[in-house]
Symmetry: C2
């Protein structure tokens, strides 16, 4: 049986820059129609000039592939209405990082006082620019997302017309918050749909499955699977695919990030089929929900998959993917 996925979108993607950009951009661009590009470069993307220049480098890197990079700015609480109005058409959203919470987030927000954030968030709300948030506190690693939920909820209540995307949610608590507020949405990664902390640290420690937020408990994974598999209109796929060179992962100081871009569609297909969901629901999770949430119309691209063993490469240049050297059940057999 052939499975056709129309216009797949990855609504949370790290393409990095320079050599790494050249390695990973073509892999996403091959099987996705478009992706929301994260702005946590060094330095972060905070100006129109940096944004357009980064977009040019991405377009350069994707080669002949048909692919739309949906650009984002790195949130700063001093962005003015005028600045945002001017840049609005070049971005799909603005990404907020708590300071220091993940890779290249040092310039992020260190004070979630609503009044401090109000003028920028009100401007975004009026201009209909979605706010994407990495929602973690600086608490105990297993509690960070749960502890951030009250901030999500306060923001959602204080700015009812602002679309807030809870990025890469990993917990039951986030799923429940999502369902309580009409203006909260979420991305979910393929790895958080598949693994728990047991896969990271329950047997041998696996640095290639170490990411932020860290994978959680079985009941958390179950809550994520439920909203993904039922294609809840408030959730969409975002891989958070985050490449690091092998030496930065298999190290005494291992960086956070799982690299999944080249296998995400195959794994999602397997997940939806094995759990008796439908290709229709997968289509919503991988594309239509995102189109509705972000109000975008990417160019059509049809990916054909089939149940056929695919041996995941041991590496893509110097980046080790999730499930390296393992065999997964589905293969991409056509891209049109």
């Amino acid at each position: 049986m052939q499975i056709k996925l129309d216009t797949p979108l990855d609504m949370h993607l790290h393409l990095r820059d320079e050599d790494m950009l050249k390695t990973v951009a073509p892999l996403s661009a091959k099987s996705f129609s478009g992706a929301l590009i994260m702005p946590n470069l060094v330095p972060p993307v905070t100006t129109k000039e940096a944004l357009l220049s980064y977009k040019d480098r991405i377009i350069d890197a994707i080669g002949d592939n048909e692919f739309t990079p949906y650009m984002t700015l790195f949130f700063k609480n001093n962005y003015s209405y005028e600045f945002l109005e001017d840049i609005k058409d070049d971005i799909i959203g603005i990404k907020l990082y708590p300071a220091g919470i993940t890779t290249n987030s040092d310039g992020g927000v260190d004070n979630f006082d609503i009044e401090t954030l109000r003028s920028t968030l009100e401007a975004m709300s009026r201009l209909d620019i979605p706010l994407c948030i990495h929602g973690e506190s600086d608490g105990f690693v297993m509690d960070r997302e749960k502890e951030f939920v009250p901030i999500y909820e306060e923001l959602a209540s204080s700015f009812p017309n602002l679309k807030i995307i809870m990025e890469h949610i990993t917990t039951k608590d986030s799923v429940e918050a999502l369902e309580r507020h009409s203006n909260l949405y979420a991305t979910i990664t393929i790895h958080h749909l598949l693994i728990t902390l047991d896969d990271v640290a329950g047997g041998m420690l696996n640095p290639h499955l170490f990411c932020k937020p860290i994978a959680k408990r079985y009941e958390d994974r179950e809550a994520l699977q439920r909203v993904a598999l039922e294609a809840n209109p408030k959730v969409m796929f975002g891989s958070d695919s985050a490449p690091h060179p092998q030496h930065a992962k298999e190290s005494s100081h291992c960086s956070a990030g799982v690299f999944t871009s080249p296998i995400a569609l195959q794994l999602l297909t397997q997940l939806f089929i094995d759990n008796n969901s439908s290709i229709e629901n997968l289509q919503k999770f991988i594309s239509s929900n995102a189109k509705d949430i972000y109000n975008i119309s990417p160019k059509s691209k049809v990916i054909t998959l089939e149940k056929k063993p695919f041996i995941v490469p041991n590496s893509y240049d110097n980046v080790i993917p999730m499930y390296a050297s393992q065999t997964i059940d589905y293969s991409i057999i056509g891209i049109k």
Copy 2:
């Protein structure tokens, strides 16, 4: 101020075999009077011949140091009374591993039905041979020790004259169980007194702090610190120092184990002093409690420490210690 520790004992130590034994045995033998040696070699130590031969290799490896290796057998539920009576004087205890729960534990126990274990445990009880247990279920990594507590308690109640040592406890739950049963005792490692899961996976992932049981929450560490710092007579120091070569730690499949032998006394001294406990309590935790629990009389050795910065070596041969290259506050300045 000089701190003198009399006859320090490490009641849970992995010395491995062959080259690794030659690397690590002298390091323990230098600053400890003796140690309880774990039997999880490949194959595990299950016969008198293997035990005595391993003891000889250890004595060979420690060189000129004055050091007593207290040997243990790997628990099998078919050990007869006669076998145990014959080997009794050569061992200090028998170590029980649930099958597959940690490094080289495949031949361990896969059924904790009391009747299956009864004849061997009754023989041990009559012969006054302590039972040392790695107490973890095969459940979710953060729950494994908590889930094993009912088994500890059932064993303690079923064999009231059997001394049961809860090895390397990491949770508040174990501390509470320890306090409920007169025949439960415990070892505590220096790393579980110092770190939480945040140190392993809260920032960069640190494979050199990855061990089994995995480090837990702040409230767990607090419970461990409480019974250690008050020198509760039922707890004693056991480093669980578990060396692996660097390539097995900084790897896509990282082995479990933290290597602390050469810095354990320095870190314990710092911990007890910084937390306003006393050298008297440290003396109990590091020596007298173990002598009472195991009824042993190791030869005296006095280690003198001082508040003087010590830069932890980057490696000992190919083994990376905890806190490699970092500076700790106390140094060993004399061994007599």
